[in-house]
Amino acid sequence: MSVKILAIESSCDETSASVLADGVILSNYIANQTVHEQYGGVVPELASRAHQENIVPVVDLALHKAGVRKNELSAIAFTQSPGLIGSLLVGSCFAKSMALALNIPLIAVHHMQAHVLANFIGEHKPSFPFLCLTVSGGHTQIVRCDGPLDMKVIGETLDDAAGEAFDKSAKLLGLPYPGGPLIDKYAAEGDPNRFKFPEPQIPGLNFSFSGLKTSILYFLQEQREKDPQFTENNMADICASVQHRIVSILMNKLVKASKETGIREIGIAGGVSANSGLRKALQEYGKKHGWNTYIPKFEYCTDNAAMIAITAWYKYQAGEFAGLDAVPGARAGF
């Protein structure tokens, strides 16, 4: 009999549910809060109330699409940490209740491990050891994986995440928040070498983006004194230059990590993996340094339950189950 797992992700903005059978994703539904933008808000609805409203329909849809009945499930998985506590609680309470009612095991998943394991959905899987650069709105990490459940963070941001560096640069340029994707769009038309922004000198494999933010702020202030329309007139070149710098900060650390560990299986994960500059750079650097490179499909890059399901599948095989006393947490450590 095959192993069927229902996974729930509710760590931040999105409520998502996914069904997996023997390592294959059968469905992956994400109820994001775009519906609320129709009411004029650009700030996403974050209330755990929204998760409470979404969770039953999303789970129902995921099961229906997969053609799996509740009583066929072998385990229920949920995101335990890190995340917003109010949001995590909705997913964990739901998962626990369902596991208890069906009398099947419960699996607690770490959100950041799941991002990395999104690279293991589908046929083109990395082999171990594997290095993954996880870049999202809230996180920037280089993770060394010696097995699917054997991971270590070997570098991380000391301040802003890469996604935040994009969003906040966009805000300094007067673009709406979150403006990361807009930077990518303008950058396609611009000259990445027109303006030079400094690369922070951070020892080891850690990152820092707050200095870049401040240097962009100073740069724009100076230029606007000379030409009040400077930003508007040079938007494409500024965006291309900013993107080029953020991507080069990420890639230079990845090169360093690869050299230090001797690992050439290299992947990226997280929402910022959608950035075209980063995707292109990974391929270019990969060719130059002889890496095998991996990028999950877009729907598995942003927050989603399929990555929780694939992680739960490895945990199921390893017999790593959680008790009903498993508590969600905001702290980020593995």
Partner: protein, 140 residues
């Protein structure tokens, strides 16, 4: 109370800050983007002996760090309410739980939407950039 400091005076400033505010727990923190709010909170965490990686809470809304004092484990919360819309959302996100947790220290950025939830002894901090690029921290 106010402090003026450059980047390499952060550590000293953080120590002096905690000497002054040894009994206060709730702080609001305001200042323009790029002023160094996250960097300053990071220095304050380090001065308290936090070993967790500290980072910006803009996306995550609430970051939690742990430190040890007299053998007991305490929490520092760093909140950024920019992405929340109103008090209901803030309560649903767990803001009350951090503000009223015993002995927990809270730094709240973009605190306007939770003005009614903050205790009367909340310390209001303002961080700004001076023309010589030093930072000015004012408490009022």
């Amino acid at each position: 109370m106010e402090w003026t400091f450059s980047e390499n005076e952060l550590e000293v400033t953080a120590k002096s800050f905690w000497q002054h505010y040894n009994a206060q727990h709730i702080f609001t923190l305001e200042g323009p983007m790029g002023a160094g709010k996250t960097t300053f909170v990071k220095a304050l965490c380090a001065a308290k002996g936090v070993e967790d990686a500290t980072a910006s809470p803009t996306f995550s809304i609430i970051n939690e760090y742990a430190y040890r004092q007299n053998g007991a484990l305490h929490s520092i919360y760093h909140l950024d309410l920019y992405r929340l819309r109103d008090e209901d959302e803030a309560i649903a996100a767990g803001v009350e739980d951090t503000i009223y947790k015993e002995n927990a220290i809270c730094f709240v950025e973009w605190p306007d939407i939770v003005a009614h939830l903050l205790p009367p002894d909340t310390v209001r901090l303002q961080l700004s950039v001076l023309p010589d690029k030093k930072r000015l921290l004012r408490a009022g």
